[in-house]
Symmetry: C2
Subunit: 579 residues, 2 copies
């Protein structure tokens, strides 16, 4: 887990800490061991990502199946069944150029009319003033083929991960101990831990806990396993635009599906924006102060603001009704006189305008705050001065519902992800054996650098590993021969710096031909994809109010832009085509 | 009538031939005379537009009437009733600054998410590539107050104007004779007339005729009359964005109506985009060739492209169903295999790719063309070479349905507008006396410069007149003392040049305080508004298939930017608040 690709960053994702792939352990390794199994090494040769024929990658719908089938139709209901026996019927290479151009034009028009937009980095005010300097968000022209059974599995574990985060977050000692060595080498984690310590000292309880997470996966070509890359617990990006891009693809498939030989029903609808909005509104209800507002913590400049605005808009347009339907008695006539209001504040503004009343209520600019929704605060760069740290501490002290709390935030760090992958650790937090097995099936290999055996192996076969720094914001994962060099240097420098990194199994995803549309132009390239599954969790004391999968995010990026189909590069928004 | 403010021009309407106001004759002048009546002169003092207290201008809703009333609710059904007895309850000056800022922010966000966008003139490809260089369309923050009875009247005459255009268009001799002197002094009209002559020579009949018009009005403060400025019969702009801005205002009133003391139901919904799309689709059905497409004739660069794209989008998303419902037997399974397709072509492309088959079918780039929808071709600048004129002639020769035909286009010229205002001319085209009276009630004073008496009066009292050049694209209406100078100069130069202009009564609209939002900033200023009523007309031989009002367009501009609240300046999109 880790702050990782959490956003509030422009979705072109050229930022360094937004890398897409990391290796993990396969599920057929012994789940109680985090040592590298020999059979895994044998399978995972020193290969580059597999370039399978494109005809096998996209639109693997059986050609006889031109009308919506029950199989596709059932996807939305999340029924679990076996793998697909469908066959490829579309070869991207055979697509007529004119048809592609028409689709690109239509897609650009559709995006412009339906708010699939971001701020243009070339326009000065595009990160501060809505409505100026807009450009369409980068997107894949067509959805990416994905195995239905893996999709279902990822959906199925979402509520289990939600629950896991909640339980880990309650174990303050576990968090502090697991991160104790990281604290010494990473100033950012250290400051977060300080706040966490203060909360432990005063025995601060968060009775209402809201999590809006996203668990990111890649499909390993060799093992055919969906392996978790990280679990984002703060500022998970693209619930808004990700929903819109799914609608774009559905619109294109509706209009061109016949030419493409594919079926719109194989692209699952994506209601991430609505589900997150609803979870925020339900948290607001639990806070039970009709005059209080939801505060979005934002960066001073945010070119990805429209992704956030989709949530605010949905909340405003849809929620009063839901509120009335589900909680007519809790609040007096809430939708007439106390619509759910969202305000946007930077950390610096919160420091300046914020105060805590004797009863714990956080006031910011005179507004009582019911829910704090972080779309900033996840990276060291979000804390340029002590003001921001004061703001973070102030918020944590208050009675407002934090999404996330400091505990939830820490639970999403890479070090905790690695700790949870150790034998017998999941068992501390989850009772149900089946649930544990399901989670572990998603875990890639994750190791501490204190494990001398694995370091030896990684020096010998560096291409099978990725070194991930705990530090966020720098985001420089280490690949290939650099892994060997880094490990040898660390071995020389002594043990202290080991805690700044973890080692992960490297995933070798298949790449496939994709049309990537950016800045009004379309390019065909080989690309790899990452699937994120959103999860929403809301709990008030013993009562779990929301625990659900909440839509998804597919991101796709050119594989040649990095070593072995992983690491930094420009990603486009995408959706799923289930087969 | 005139090409006038027809668009495909960016909606900031800084272009010179997009002026907003022109004087007309009042309805209480003798309808059988186009001489300036003395009582009209007496009423219309040499005044600047009336600056009434803002409290009387905006939101003149009775304060007791906070809930939707039947009166407002009925507006959409177009029932005719008396004037309003409501009183102002909102003073814009008393609006809290914070509230205004919040509304502006929300409005900018809403616009970005809902396609209320145009190309940004500062971004190079914004007129050619959709999805890049977008900025919100300029808009009034709140709808403008308008008397319900005048709105109903304007709606009521829309079908009569539709019918009038159709009948005038059939009288080739009337068009040629009325424009014979204009032909000599205006090269553009001359070329249009040449095409028209050729069609008359070969006795070309347009059996299926489609008109998508917009009649523009201003409310004269002194006489309280709604007077027609012009009737646009080609390339009428903003059916798309105009519909969206109405939705924006309805969204704002829904969220802030209580703070503003006004009622969302007093802003009529605006379905111009849907109605126009449907009229285009119905014309396509009448053409009855399932493989044929609708061709939009566009300018090579078009920053107002999204206005047009809204129609294409609606056509694509909504029409297959309507088609099936209304005409299941006409076309074989049309919505499965022959969706209504729109293509976009410039005049130069049509010249290059176009050909006419022996049966009259127009082929462009291999597509058979069912309907030609002009969003270019209305101004001299649209014909930079002979290629464009060849294309226009080619299209006119074909069997495709032209929206508009050359006859419809000519019927919309200012000279014809002036001719129709002469005594006993309407009677040639319309039988129903009541309809004639209704049309005439909208006519402002319109005179030829050959009328020596009126020219004398205009030299004496130039502030009561506007001189409008027939020539489009130049668009320099003449006001104030310049009218006197121009008339004296023409008198010296001889009669020939008289035909280049018409004289119109000058309208003195009330101005009112308005918040105008442009480029992400909001400014408060005094502004005047112009109401456009869209009309759609479709006829196949003797059968009238569509004759309807089709939504509306409100445009508002700063009154201080021009003389007497009229002429060029920057206009913002607006909607109505009926009282």
């Amino acid at each position: 887990m880790g702050v990782g690709c959490s956003s509030s960053l422009p979705p072109t994702v050229n930022n360094p800490h937004c890398s897409i792939t990391f290796p993990h352990t396969s599920a057929h390794t012994n789940p109680t061991s985090n040592h590298l199994p020999i059979n895994w090494l044998a399978r995972a040769h020193l290969q580059k990502p597999t370039k399978s024929p494109i005809s096998k990658r996209l639109f693997t719908l059986d050609s006889a199946r031109k009308t919506p089938t029950l199989k596709c139709g059932r996807t939305a209901q999340m029924e679990i069944e076996g793998g697909s026996d469908s066959k490829p019927i579309l070869d991207l290479h055979s697509l007529d150029d004119n048809l592609v151009q028409k689709m690109v034009y239509d897609a650009l028009v559709w995006s412009s009319l339906h708010g699939l937009v971001v701020g243009d980095r070339n326009v000065q005010r595009s990160g501060t003033v809505p409505g100026v300097g807009m450009v369409h968000a980068p997107f894949a022209l067509l959805p990416t083929v994905f195995p239905e059974n893996q999709w279902k599995l990822a959906c199925e574990v979402a509520p289990i991960f939600n629950e896991l985060v909640d339980r880990v977050s309650l174990d303050g000692k576990f968090l502090q101990e697991s991160l104790s060595r990281t604290k010494k080498v990473d100033a950012f984690t250290s400051r977060l831990l300080d706040i966490h310590s203060k909360m432990l000292e005063i025995n601060k309880k968060e009775e209402i806990r809201l999590g809006l997470h996203r668990s990111d996966y890649m499909l390993d070509e060799k093992t055919k396993l969906l392996l978790q890359i990280e679990l984002n617990t703060i500022s998970t990006s693209f619930p808004g635009l990700g929903s819109v891009v799914s609608e774009l693809h559905r619109s294109l498939l509706k209009n061109y599906g016949e030419h493409l030989g594919c079926d719109v029903n194989c692209t699952p609808s994506n209601d991430a924006a609505n589900r997150f909005s609803e979870a925020l509104a339900k948290a607001w209800i639990e806070y039970n102060n009709p005059k209080a507002v939801i505060m979005v913590v934002v960066q001073p400049e945010e070119r990805n603001m429209y992704d956030q605005h989709w949530l605010s808009f949905n909340l405003k347009e849809r929620y009063p009704f839901i509120l009335f339907m589900t909680q007519p008695l809790t609040l007096k006539n809430p939708f007439n006189t106390h619509n759910v209001t969202m305000i946007r504040k930077t950390m610096a503004e919160i420091d300046k305008e914020g105060e805590i009343q004797p009863d714990g209520t956080l006031l910011v600019g005179g507004h009582a705050i019911a829910v704090i929704y972080f779309r900033a605060g996840y990276a060291p760069t979000d804390y340029p001065s002590e003001a921001e740290w004061r703001a973070r501490l102030l918020m944590e002290h208050s009675s407002a519902i934090k999404c996330p709390s400091i505990s939830y935030h820490l639970t999403g760090t890479k070090k905790i992800q690695q700790e949870l992958a150790k034998p017998n650790v999941l068992e501390k937090f989850i009772d149900n054996k089946e649930d544990i097995a399901k989670l572990r099936k998603c875990f890639a290999g994750l190791w501490s650098l204190d494990d001398a055996d694995i370091v030896d192996t990684a020096i010998e076969k560096p291409h099978l590993f990725v070194m991930k720094p705990q530090r966020e914001g720098g985001g420089n994962n280490i690949y290939g021969d650099d892994v060997r060099e880094a490990l040898l240097r660390l071995r020389k420098d002594g043990k202290e710096q080991n805690a700044a990194y973890i080692l992960m199994q490297r995933i070798f995803p298949t790449d496939s031909a994709t049309f990537l549309v950016r800045d009004g132009s379309c390019h065909k390239d080989h690309a790899v994809s990452e699937l994120g599954i959103y999860g929403a969790y809301l709990r008030n004391k013993d009562k779990v109010i929301v625990n659900e999968r909440s839509g998804y995010l597919m991101r796709t990026k050119v594989s040649s832009s990095n070593e072995g189909g992983v690491a930094a590069g420009f990603a486009v928004l995408d959706s799923l085509y289930l087969t």
